[in-house]
């Protein structure tokens, strides 16, 4: 009966293999296992609990390519203590990892549909694995659209990669910034402004949205205006999380635990409280 279940609260030690500075406050860590078994299967949209020795543990989405199990990639913005300490890590330093946890972007269910990905700011990191997946299986999808909004041109995440996608003929990539800085010549304005003109068939579209809650709220409205139904809209939520396995209770959001029922939700099932305050 008592098959030795691994303790879900216990971290496994990984090592920082590479650090890439993405923007002034955002960085990507590539982690390798220290016990040689470099295999970390995960689904696009899932996250890990990352532990910095002596400081604490926080949820961070996996931002790498799900088809590549070899290394584990996370993109983090330094906003506070743990993320700040994480930014100080150097190659070879240890970090604790638990995961992967949570629900994922329904990339399988989206086959045959147009896919529109709307990302705001750092929200590009958690959807990047979905985009990787879709691009790997490009033939299975209809139109693929990435609408990405960033605060300023300097905050654009994965800049070179975004440019590469933009250069592809099989994806529509549109980037906008809230505030232009010289020499930005692209769109200026909120990301939702790009929705009305985006090339997808609303009745046949699956949407993945990731970004600040307020941005997701308006994105949903715009998508609905175009006729995308709520059951085909997916959002990724953030809540305080201490355990990521449903024991700590912190991440409750309505009837859901963001850690296990989310972070990715289909909008239809949460819409009746998504708009309410302080849920």
């Amino acid at each position: 009966m008592s098959t030795a279940v691994v303790d879900p609260m216990r971290s496994v030690v990984y090592e920082v293999q590479r650090i890439r500075k993405e923007t002034s406050d955002t960085f990507t860590l590539e982690l390798h296992s220290t016990n040689g078994s470099n295999d970390f299967p995960f689904a696009a949209g899932q996250f890990n609990m990352l532990y910095v020795f002596g400081v604490g543990e926080i949820p961070i989405s996996i931002s790498g390519d799900p088809s590549k199990h070899r290394s584990l990639i996370h993109t983090t913005r330094a906003v506070g203590l743990v993320t700040g300490a994480m930014r100080q890590l150097k190659r070879g330093d240890s970090i604790g990892v638990r995961g992967p946890f949570g629900s994922h972007w329904p990339v399988e269910h989206a086959t045959g549909y147009d896919v529109v990905i709307v990302a705001g700011g750092l929200g590009l990191a958690p959807v990047r694995p979905a985009l990787y997946h879709i691009l790997h299986h490009r033939e299975k999808y209809g139109n693929v659209v990435l609408l990405y909004g960033s605060r300023t041109p300097n905050d654009i995440l994965f800049r070179r990669e975004v440019e590469k996608w933009r250069a592809r003929l099989d994806v529509d990539v549109h980037v906008t910034v809230d505030r232009a800085i010289h020499p930005w010549r692209g769109n200026v304005g909120v990301v939702t402004r790009m929705i009305p003109k985006a090339p997808f068939d609303p009745l046949n579209t699956v949407a993945f949205i990731c970004g600040p809650e307020i941005m997701m709220r308006f994105t949903v409205l715009e998508l609905q205006k175009r006729g995308v139904t709520t059951d085909k809209i997916f959002i990724s939520m953030e809540r305080n999380m201490k355990c990521a396995v449903g024991f700590c209770g912190h991440c409750q959001w309505g009837p859901n635990f963001v850690c296990k029922d989310g972070p990715v939700f289909d909008y239809a099932s949460v819409k009746h409280f998504f708009e309410k305050r302080e849920i």
């Binding site: 002596g54 400081v55 604490g56 203590l81 700040g84 300490a85």
Partner: protein, 261 residues
């Protein structure tokens, strides 16, 4: 570790009873470990040696009560990278802030035969009213384990585990049945910040608020309950006017009842 420069610690005193800084010396078990990890650079109560600033960590005890101290605290801030205020005096003005509710001049003449020698400000105010404070450690006196925790958190650049929730949480942790419920003894625990370990209820007395207001102190509701338990308004004023009398939530509550005298 050995190669790293030890951070420099300074301890400063303003108007206070010394109890909070004494807590550092009262850490009998941890003291030597503390001094291993951190260099005591300026701590007159413990040492004649004064090493020049700037200091990595300053602990500030006491409230500002004199014009001279109001100047001195700015010097302290300038020479400190990280400034932590310790105790009710430094975080809320302390018991001496009771003067803030009266005229300090009558106070002076009550105590001193020759009031002219006294130079004192009208109010006793917390350090944060004067300079930026990086962290406030509450308590009258502070809890020495929390002090070690703050130092330890500072050394590891993490957040100190000094939660702002109510004393009730600690009551439950130490399994003291609530004395307000079980004995009808008025207790400030629900509006007082945890930190002491809920000592008083475990000694059969109501909490009297050493650690100041908790994060969301619903003092009006508690006052109504205190009255329901038989407390009169004079005592209500006194209850909220203790060691953290000048902390906003407690100050407002005591003033609300004073009006009704």
């Amino acid at each position: 570790m050995a190669t790293k420069r030890k951070p420099k610690l300074a301890v400063w005193k303003f108007a206070s009873c010394d109890g909070c800084q004494l807590s550092l010396l009262d850490c009998e078990d941890e003291l030597l470990a503390v001094t291993d990890a951190i260099e005591i650079a300026n701590f007159p109560e413990a040492s004649r040696t004064i090493i020049k600033g700037p200091y990595d960590l300053s602990l500030v005890e006491g409230s500002i009560t004199t014009p001279h101290d109001a100047e001195r605290i700015h010097q302290v801030r300038r020479s400190s990278k990280f400034l932590v205020t310790i105790g009710a005096c430094a975080t809320a003005g302390g018991i001496q802030s009771l003067r803030n509710f009266s005229d300090v001049n009558t106070y002076i003449s009550t105590v001193y035969a020759t009031p002219d020698y006294i130079s004192s400000l009208q109010k006793s105010t917390p350090i944060a009213d004067h300079v930026f404070v990086d962290f406030e450690l509450r308590g009258c006196p502070l809890n020495k384990y929390q002090l070690v925790e703050v130092i330890s958190a500072f050394l590891n650049s993490r957040r100190p585990n000094v939660p702002p929730y109510s004393v009730c949480v600690e009551c439950k942790q130490r399994e003291t049945p609530c004395i307000m419920v079980a004995k009808g003894i008025p207790c400030m625990g629900p509006v007082t910040q945890a930190g002491c370990g809920a000592i008083c209820p475990s000694y059969n007395r109501g909490c009297y608020g050493c650690f100041g207001p908790s994060e969301m102190p619903n003092t009006p509701s508690l006052s109504i309950w205190f009255e329901h338990l038989g407390m009169n308004r004079t005592d209500l004023v006194r209850t909220f006017r203790g060691f953290n009398a000048y902390a906003e939530a407690f100050r407002k509550e005591s003033e609300a009842h004073e009006k009704h005298y």
